[in-house]
Symmetry: C2
Subunit: 552 residues, 2 copies
């Protein structure tokens, strides 16, 4: 071993370099979701479908999306996504599909599925790394006549490269089609596959129509069940509560207002002149100052002052949850439970002044939960702004909240019952824990709010599950007692000389009257159970003549 | 609800913008590890300590690190880290501490703790967002006389801002001190706190000395237990196996060689002229071509060809694991187990041609595992390049591998036994699943290799645990039988007229001879157990005189 004991800092720093964000994600593509082969394929579909849905919503179009996965080789596939969205103007196609951290979403307080300007560029990067092929795009806007082109990324500079630009003839409708070849991916029909992803997407977006062609050419249609376009997402104004000093400074310094007071009333939601007057009383700063001159100390005093004033709850108009009605529809469609309870919480504020809404549902029975070797275990369906989250379950705030609930208090045995838990978080800003957007950071305020939603939902289902348990108990007692009525009536008949059948009928009536819910709920099952009970008794007594009589 | 049905693509795209990577992480700081208050504080310490250790190792210096956490307010702390590393040349301090994606590590195939050029800049960003204060740095290199300055980030442009630059007098040794004020953080003494982080760091880096001052002014010293500096990390050449076509093209196009053949032998490890000749036979391309003109197709043929040729295993000289001896020392220090088995696997190749080495250990007893209300459960200690990973446990490839092992096959009940599992992965490139570097992406090749290491380790401990179980079984039988020797000898004495004590001694000797391991292993415990057994028997028989006799 040789040490360079006199190695100088200069020696080390002569290797110093800056890197583009494209280079970074090229090297760390697993951070974008390109890790396992199955996940990589779903990630591509997820990024494109998410963008299509956002674009349609923004343009007020009922989305019609076609997804096609074609097998080109062992681990090589072509993935194509076509939409009827507004299309992409020619001058933007390179930046939209092949520049990391560029887009229309990052800087606006608008609830959208995508938010980072990374997704589509990540797909381009992934195609480029694995097959060396650019992404092919065809776009029609309502002003362009349409064009097609190939896009790739100059990763060293994080700049788009657009080639083979061709004018296209007129089309029937606007829209964007993207298509790329990817290697090191795998199509899979599991719960973590494209089919499941699209199914859940359709279910949390009942206004969307998706046609999916799988690698065997089999076509699946997820038809829209609602003709209403969800409200066009509106930019939200920040609520003063939860705002950081840094946010306040950034906004103030970028403000076009001349006075701090008008900056406050113009910029924040629920901020009236009355509030300014209230704050003047408790915050010792000059409210007529130029907001561009606000210092950290002043901003800090302001933000502290906000916490000592009462505010109307944040505006929720710009947050679009799935809606209780649609969550119920969704659950009915997916798992057709015996019973469910859906809760939509009021808006709550997460740090930075962004309101969010949690929807939670608990379903019992039907195809709820997951079947295991020894019975059932509970399952969790996670959504963020209606986008299904299939991966990184372990590190998600939703999972964390579900774990923290003391389910037994609600009579729910989440490890051993057919229970499904659904949670959707809607917000203009979802704090994803990773760039791949598959898990929500377990921030305290969010985990707490999800827990409250789950507890609400659990309370609503508690009675049902308790009743269900009572019914199970009653049914068992009913069956046990019924099992002995035949033998008992025979014995009583011998003792009393009365007709056995009469005694038996009377005994059965007694039992049935004592357990009215068993008959009522169990229906046909109860009848079968009677027969089962009878069969078992026959075996015990060996009296098959009687048994035949009973069955008539 | 008003829809803008005719919203044009142009309307949407007029909002299109590009963002700097600093802006991105400013908005998504949870992705860097700044989520919960406790984690945020540990993240700052983690980033600075990691950089200090890397710098010392690169300069061949035995690290002496001082970490200080001071409480300034409710959730506000000053965190300072001083090292005796090589320092940072004046011209680089801004870029080193306040430019995201800049550094000496990202582009070199060298095993280091940090690798992304994000960590220190992330700390600066976090200080800036939460307290508005820059980071204060003092640096001495062996050529500078030393200087101090404040650094912050112009986030819109991702450029450093250096201010208050002051020349400092001469110092006793080179080094870098950084200090910052952070809000929204919390000091915690749990398993996820700074103390635990530093303790584990010291234990996986026995050559490091760390002095930690906690917010109460209490000083903790983790002294070095080894005076040997680990080998200076050397740049690794890529191994041809596992190389992607894209990597090959990038390397070829950046090459200074004139011929493909010399590019291959110069660039890759284990690539002799003999290999070139072998490949010429099976790959139909011109090996005298200019590597800068290599096409995707040619590169693809080459990479496919690599897979059809036999290669010597990748060089492991540039991978520096902790070492079996030190892992054993570590485990002994942390948990002093009854038994442990440490396995160091041979190097394996992960996609991209990067070799990695897995070390795994399983410890039983002592303070292994974690105590629960009802007994014990297994615990996992994860390390990557000797850096302890405390967060994002659920989404880590190490956790995944541990879960996939069928522990019962090895007689280990990981949910209910005092078992600790330690895994360290060493590589020039660790595929972290997130930018915060707290979890390793569960890539198949890595998970498989960890599983093999764990199975090796489990096989080695299986006998011990089996023996332990047998011993438990024997001990129980021993105690049960011993319990009745007194009563039995009394009865036999009555029946035969022989002296009770003689019979009792003979009986006990018989039992002891029959269970030699119980005596041998249990030692003092077995004696206590004898007494316990005796006590219980006394209660049964009420014969305390006898009991006193036994005890003498």
């Amino acid at each position: 071993m040789v040490y360079m004991a006199n190695s100088k800092a200069d020696d080390i720093f002569k290797e110093f370099k800056e890197h583009s964000v494209s280079e970074f994600f090229k090297k760390n593509r697993q951070m974008l979701g390109y890790s396992s082969m199955v996940r990589s394929l779903v990630t591509v579909v997820h990024e494109y479908v998410t963008n299509s849905l956002d674009a349609c919503e923004e343009a007020g179009i009922l989305p019609d999306i076609r997804v096609k996965v074609e097998r080109l080789g062992d681990t090589k596939y072509r993935i194509s996504v076509d939409d009827n969205g507004p299309g992409v103007p020619k001058g933007f196609i390179g930046k939209a599909l092949a520049t990391v951290l560029a887009g229309t979403k990052f800087h606006r307080n608008v609830q959208q599925r995508g938010q980072q300007g990374i997704g589509a560029a990540g797909c381009t990067l992934f195609a480029q790394i694995t097959t060396g092929k650019p992404i092919h795009a065809v776009s029609y806007t309502d002003t362009d006549s349409g064009y097609s082109c190939d896009v790739s990324i100059d990763t060293m500079r994080n700049k788009p490269v657009v080639s083979n630009l061709v004018q296209e003839g007129p089309a029937q409708h606007t829209g964007l089609s993207v298509s790329g070849e990817f290697d090191g991916v795998k199509y899979d029909t599991s719960d973590h596959g494209v089919y499941e992803y699209l199914k859940r997407t359709a279910l949390s977006n009942p206004h969307v129509q998706i046609v999916f062609t799988d690698p065997n050419g089999q076509e699946y249609s997820f038809l829209r069940s609602v003709e209403t376009i969800p409200e066009k997402p509106k930019a939200a104004r920040l609520h003063p509560l939860g705002l950081t000093v840094n946010d306040m400074l950034d906004l103030a310094h970028a403000s076009g207002n001349n006075k701090l007071s008008s900056f406050l009333t113009d910029t924040f939601s629920r901020f009236s002149q009355g509030k300014v007057n209230e704050l003047k009383e408790i915050v010792g700063i000059d409210f007529s100052m130029d907001p561009k001159k606000l210092t950290w100390d002043d901003a800090s005093k302001l933000v502290d002052g906000f916490k000592r004033v009462r505010w109307i709850a944040p505006e929720a108009e710009h947050i679009v949850p799935i809606g209780k009605k649609y969550v119920e529809l969704t659950l009915k469609n997916i798992i057709n439970p015996e019973f469910m309870n859906v809760v939509e919480r009021k808006p709550s504020v997460f740090k930075g002044g962004f309101p969010f809404i949690v929807e939670a549902a608990i379903a019992y029975g039907g195809s709820s939960g997951r079947q295991t070797d020894s019975g059932y275990t509970g399952s969790i369906m996670r959504f963020a702004n209606r986008v299904p989250l299939l991966f990184d379950t372990g590190s998600c705030g939703i999972t964390e909240a579900v774990k923290q609930i003391q389910w037994k208090r609600y009579g729910i045995d989440i490890d051993n019952q057919p229970v499904s838990v659904l949670v959707n978080i809607s917000s203009v800003y979802i704090p994803y824990s990773g760039v791949g957007k598959e898990a929500i950071s377990p921030e305290e305020e969010i985990v707490e709010e999800i827990k409250l939603a789950l507890m609400d939902a659990a309370r609503g289902i508690q009675h049902y599950i308790h009743g269900k348990q009572q019914l199970n108990y009653d049914t068992n007692r009913y069956k046990t007692i019924m099992r002995y009525t035949n033998q008992l009536s025979e014995n009583l008949s011998e003792l009393t000389g009365m007709q056995k059948e009469a005694i038996h009928e009377a005994l059965k009536r007694l039992v049935i009257e004592h357990y009215p819910r068993v008959k009522e709920h169990a229906g046909a099952d109860a009848k079968e159970e009677d027969e089962d009970a009878q069969d078992e008794q026959d075996e015990e007594t060996g009296d098959s003549a009687d048994a035949q009589e009973q069955e008539q």
